[in-house]
């Protein structure tokens, strides 16, 4: 009975995720059809093309067919991991993206780790300590939440690489250690807002658990403070925190566009910015799809992990 409700629940989640991705692909493909005037003009990205080339482009993007047929031929290509050819770089979109995924992936992972570690730590200390520590942490978190990534980028750039010279201003570096060093400022810039969000959500979640009777009851049984915090406070607050981390990862993906531009990094984000401004449609479509797929996959994974953390999720009971 219990295993069945769990699997039914998981299946529904997966189905919802698949539906979201399906609709997203329709939107991303349909965007091309919305281009005012002849979409080929946008696709040619300002270049002069021969009539044969125009025909080839039309055919490649299914513009010579109805919407559905055009979509089906495009999505067929996407499923074969063929995202088309960049008009700007004249190479396959897939190879353009995969070649830059290393830098951007590391950047996302780096900043997510920073934000999660510091955010939960600050949240826990401020919730447990209370008083002045709590006050300071809440102001800090509110300020961090409101700091736009591009403002953080230029401020860090001005202070730590140009002013103090501690970190390089541009480039992604070579070799693992050098790369981490180069990516530190960009990762911090991206992590600031996420840190703020996690510190606030975490503080609220921890404080709520600390006030719960089961925590009082655990203390009444002589469970030590460290064990109470680890086994009852942190463990119970994990579910809301994980949900927030899931949502934040997708916003970090878009954040790479800003920090990679600010710090002159050659990654997926800066590729997106270049492609949008040059209206290199196949690349924009490819990156948008990856961004949405990342959001859906991460959040579905989080959803599937939640019942392991809080068994009441599938039982239809209240969360937390």
């Amino acid at each position: 009975m219990k295993a069945r409700t769990l699997s039914v629940w998981a299946a529904r989640r997966a189905l919802g995720a698949a539906l979201t991705v399906l609709v997203a692909t329709v939107v991303v493909y349909g965007a091309l059809r919305l281009v005012p005037g002849d979409p080929v003009v946008a696709l040619s990205a300002g270049r002069r093309l021969t009539p044969e080339q125009i025909e080839a482009l039309r055919h490649r993007h299914g513009l010579d067919r109805g919407f559905l047929q055009g979509y089906l031929s495009w999505i067929g290509g996407v499923l074969r991991l063929d995202l088309g050819t960049s008009l700007n770089y004249q190479t396959s979109v897939m190879s353009l993206i995969t070649g830059r995924l290393g830098v951007s992936g590391l950047l996302i992972l780096y900043s997510a780790t920073l934000a999660a570690a510091l955010g939960t730590a600050v949240a826990l200390v401020s919730a447990v300590r209370g008083g002045v520590a709590d006050r300071i942490a809440s102001v800090l978190a509110a300020a961090a939440t409101a700091t736009p990534t591009f403002v953080a980028s230029i401020a860090l750039l001005a202070l730590f690489s140009i002013g103090l010279g501690w970190f390089p201003a541009t480039g992604a570096g070579t070799g693992p250690a050098d790369r981490l060093w180069h990516l530190t400022l960009p990762a911090v810039a991206m992590a600031i807002a996420a840190f703020g969000v996690l510190a606030r959500v975490g503080n609220a979640a921890f404080a709520e658990q600390l006030g719960r009777e089961h925590v009082v009851a655990a203390r009444s049984r002589g469970v030590g403070t460290a064990a109470v915090i680890r086994r009852h406070v942190v463990r119970n607050a994990l579910a809301p925190l994980l949900t927030v981390v899931g949502v934040l990862v997708a916003s970090l993906f878009v954040g790479t566009a800003v920090v990679e531009t600010a710090f002159g990094l050659d990654g997926v984000g800066s590729l997106l910015v270049t492609s949008v401004s040059r209206r290199d449609f196949p690349v924009v479509q490819g990156i948008a799809l990856i961004g949405i797929a990342l959001f859906v996959v991460v959040n579905t994974l989080v959803d599937l992990v939640l019942p392991l953390i809080d068994p009441r999720v599938t039982a239809g009971g209240p969360r937390r």
Binding site: G16, L19, T20, V23, A24, V27, V28, A31, L32, L34, V35, P36, A42, A127, V128, G130, G131, A142, A143, T145, A146, T147, P148, F150, V151, I154, A155, L157, A158, I162, G163, A169, T170, A207, E208, L210, G211, R212, V215, V216, A250, S251, F253, V254, A257, V258, T261, L272, V273, V276, S277, R279, F281, V284, A288, G291, I292, F295, V296, N299
Partner: protein, 290 residues
């Protein structure tokens, strides 16, 4: 035998106290100042925002005649900041108004219609939620070319689920309360009851969410301009000012970029403080009546 307990760690109820209004006062004062200078920029600005003076480029703040210095082409940063405030505030306002209308309509429709309409709208909001707002904005810039009109519409759509979900759940809650039932029993039409009695009840929530959305929209639109995908020159907002200051920053002259950055930061902080105060007081009022 006397014992004083040092701060024991169980808290919870105590932190729900209304916050001291000092932050609120500062936020409101700052926002009023920003709005006022934006409105009166043509009168107040000491220079034309377009007047270049290459001999006086990259002057630091505090320079005589240029309180906040000049940028790399010698334009007065203060004047540009004041003029830039107009677009920086107007565009997010457009997002808020559009998403307010959309979100309210979708939320009310979903709650009152129920059934498959509700199911479809709720699922649609989940799907929109999967598009990070800045990504959606960039997608429409790729379609329509740079400019603010398309991103404003795109962001309005991207923010719709935030308000739509809240309005839907509030409308469901309110709709289930006895006074709503009594109106129905009296023979008033469903939509009349919704617009006449439900809407005023969810209005404070719409206002609070709208305020918070304003902050997000300001950041998203400024980011877009920073990336060179937003406003087109000669028009300028704070984001494009920072974008133009990028090379000066790399040359060790960060002020013309930091100042608009600080303006964005302070405005967003103030808006957030205001929005959180609004939603906080709504939550407290609901706590009292329920």
């Amino acid at each position: 035998m006397t014992l004083t307990i040092p701060a024991l760690r169980a808290r919870g109820a105590a932190r729900r106290r209304p916050r001291r209004p000092l932050g609120l006062v500062l936020a409101a004062a700052f926002l009023s100042l920003v709005v006022l200078t934006a409105v009166l920029a043509p009168v107040l600005a000491p220079h034309s925002p377009e007047a270049t003076d290459l001999l006086n480029s990259l002057a630091p703040p505090g320079t005589e005649g240029h309180w906040l210095g000049t940028d790399s082409t010698g334009r007065d940063v203060l004047s540009r900041l004041m003029h830039g405030a107009r677009l920086s505030l107007l565009a997010p306002l457009g997002v808020v108004l559009l998403s307010g209308v959309l979100g309210t309509a979708v939320g009310l429709l979903a709650a009152r219609a129920g059934g498959w309409v509700d199911a479809v709208l709720t699922r649609a909001m989940d799907i929109v939620f999967a598009f990070p707002s800045l990504l959606l904005a960039m997608l429409v810039v790729a379609v329509f070319g740079p400019g603010l009109a398309a991103p404003v519409c795109a962001l309005a759509v991207a923010y719709t689920p935030f308000l739509g979900r809240v309005v839907r759940s509030m409308a469901l809650q309110e709709g289930a309360r006895p006074y709503m039932e009594s109106y129905r029993v009296m023979g008033f039409g469903e939509w009349w009851v919704t617009l006449r009695h439900l809407l005023p009840n969810v209005a404070p929530v719409i206002l609070a969410q709208g305020t918070l959305s304003f902050g997000y929209a300001l950041v998203d639109l400024a980011s877009l301009s920073y990336l060179g995908l937003g406003v087109r020159p000669p028009e300028a907002d704070w984001g494009s000012m920072i974008s133009q200051a990028q090379s000066a920053i790399l040359q060790g002259q960060p002020w013309s970029g930091l100042i608009p950055g600080i303006a964005v930061l302070l405005t967003v902080v103030s808006v957030n403080v205001l929005g959180e105060h609004l939603s906080g007081s709504i939550a407290r009022r609901q706590g009292e009546t329920r």
